[in-house]
Symmetry: C2
Subunit: 344 residues, 2 copies
């Protein structure tokens, strides 16, 4: 690819706070991470956003027209707007002008654009979105996938998720032999729905992953698993619930602590402690989900992403590029990354 720096194409128009916060996060990433940035979108709006910052780095702008709106059907939006920012960004990867795409826009559209423009990796039937959850053990996150790409799954999809997740955990998160769990409703191999029962066998028989058994809901945050696989319906419900739950705990604190005279005095005294609690309970800015299984690195961020989240998403992309995640997944299937012409 010529350059030694990872080149990240950013969908500058995607997300609730685009392009302002997207551009701000990109600028910081350019300065702190040593990546090349290509900002994809409406040149005038991007220039205006850039003008609000003092910056020495030159960021390349790649013109695009329009954006797939949050309430649009992904495929309809992508077809109606072939030059939409997400399409143009994916094309940059396809033409090897960029190594990765980061988008905080319509996640369904990003996934569909990746599938249509880049295709799947050989050996992978369905790409999955992986999300990193913090666990009880500091510095030991768990990768959960799929968190929303595939709402109805077959057992071998989940087996492929386990393979891709293990590669990501090993080469990006630095876990030598990632422990894989199957999200389920009991520890025993006889527990679960049809999907889980059949997946259990596949995972147990797969010599390339380190399957340690079923993980119940209560085990997700235990730190005992490095990778947890599930269908995209359960994973998505869990991810969104987890994000909300920190907020709920904080709200209960805010409501209950200051009640009564004692409450008011005590709360005033405890201010610094409460600030630390807020930091720990607040939903961790982990940047975004990684779309694994397409022939390109794609980070799908939250629609609500602001600059720090965008920065973290770009860092995720850079780490995936630098650690050759695509090549490593492909090598699991003894093939090189390959572009497919198949439809979504």
């Amino acid at each position: 690819m010529g350059s030694t720096l990872a080149r990240i194409a950013i969908d500058a128009m995607g997300g609730d706070h685009a392009p302002g916060e997207i551009v701000a996060g990109a600028l910081r990433a350019r300065e702190e991470l040593g990546v090349e940035i290509l900002l994809v979108g409406d040149p005038q709006q991007i220039e205006e956003a850039l003008a609000k910052h003092t910056h020495s780095h030159q960021l390349e702008i790649v013109p695009a027209e329009g954006v797939v709106a949050m309430n649009e059907e992904p495929l309809v939006g992508l077809r109606r707007k072939p030059k939409a920012s997400i399409n143009v960004a994916m094309d940059l990867v396809k033409r090897k002008r960029a190594d990765a795409v980061v988008s905080a826009g319509h996640s369904g559209a990003a996934m569909a654009a990746a599938l249509l423009r880049l295709g799947r990796l050989r050996g992978i039937d369905r790409p999955a979105i992986g999300a990193v959850f913090p666990t009880l053990i500091a510095g030991k996150p768990v990768l959960v996938l799929d968190v929303g790409a595939n709402v109805d799954c077959r057992p071998h999809f989940l087996e492929q998720f386990a393979t891709m997740g293990s590669v990501y955990s090993q080469y990006v998160l630095g876990i030598p032999e990632p422990k894989v769990g199957l999200l389920n409703i009991g520890e025993e191999s006889c527990k679960g729905n049809e999907l889980a029962l059949r997946t259990y066998q596949l995972l147990q028989d797969n010599p390339h992953i380190s399957f340690i058994g079923n993980a119940e809901g209560r085990d997700v945050l235990s730190g005992r698993y490095d990778v947890i696989v599930c269908d995209g319906f359960v994973g998505n419900v869990l991810l969104k619930f987890a994000e909300a739950v920190g907020e709920v705990a904080l709200n209960i604190l805010r409501e209950e602590l200051p009640l009564g005279l004692h409450g008011q005095i005590g709360t005033a005294i405890l201010k610094p402690n409460l600030r630390r609690i807020k930091q720990r309970l607040d939903h961790a800015e982990h940047g975004g989900g990684l779309l694994l299984g397409v022939a390109g690195i794609c980070i799908i961020g939250h629609g609500s992403s602001q600059a720090p989240t965008v920065f973290n998403a770009i860092r995720l992309a850079k780490e995936a590029v630098d650690n050759q995640v695509l090549e490593r997944i492909a090598s699991q299937y003894q093939e090189t990354p390959q572009q497919s012409e198949e439809k979504v």
Copy 2:
């Protein structure tokens, strides 16, 4: 039933802390709730547990032999031990000697025993376990069902869950017109897996419930829904995750609040407020899940239940009895409760 007091049969042998904690919770319930208690299990062990307490009330002991172990296949265990405590407890309800069963033992065995001994209510294809989650709004819990009885569901099962949940919410939790949500991965009616898509239509077309749309993972605790329906796989994962997360939040509080001199003083002043916070975050306060759809009131508690949880489970049972939950569900299907001979 003769007596005006609700008569609760307790599986004294079920659970990690049986019979000691079960008996302790039952004694407290007898004193504070005005219920009649029948302790089912090994008379000698129960007598020994009772002997550790000073109590004026006479608790009836109903002898049983053996208990279905946590690692036993439910049906195998139930057949091998016809006089196991859970079987005997269910028979007390069947023979109208008790109004409800509370068990902290093997939940699968409790469910199977209920189905085999009591049968389903007419109109109900699959009983569901409902669990009450606290929400952002104090005093406004949400009932989630199914949290584990049915891992593979059909759309009309979920529709029945919505009906049963609405009845429970209205008559036990006191919500005049319970708002029902369908757990899903997006707000729009076009979102979701096959089950969710087909269930959406059924719920929307049902004139007897107040369906207000899809609830995402982040909406579960919002307080906007009174009843949320889902299949037992997703519900179980969510419930166990939520319980673990509440514990994590409490741990953070316990760790961070008393740090430093200010922390110690503030925490001391805030004691009553902190107690309320613990109550709102702690799952033990909720007692257990209600098995809805069988021809008897059954509360299925946590295996880890200690006395306060057992007490709360008994209170749940009493409330369901006093508010005639069974009769109200049956009347939704214009039938009286009916025992079925069908197999699980």
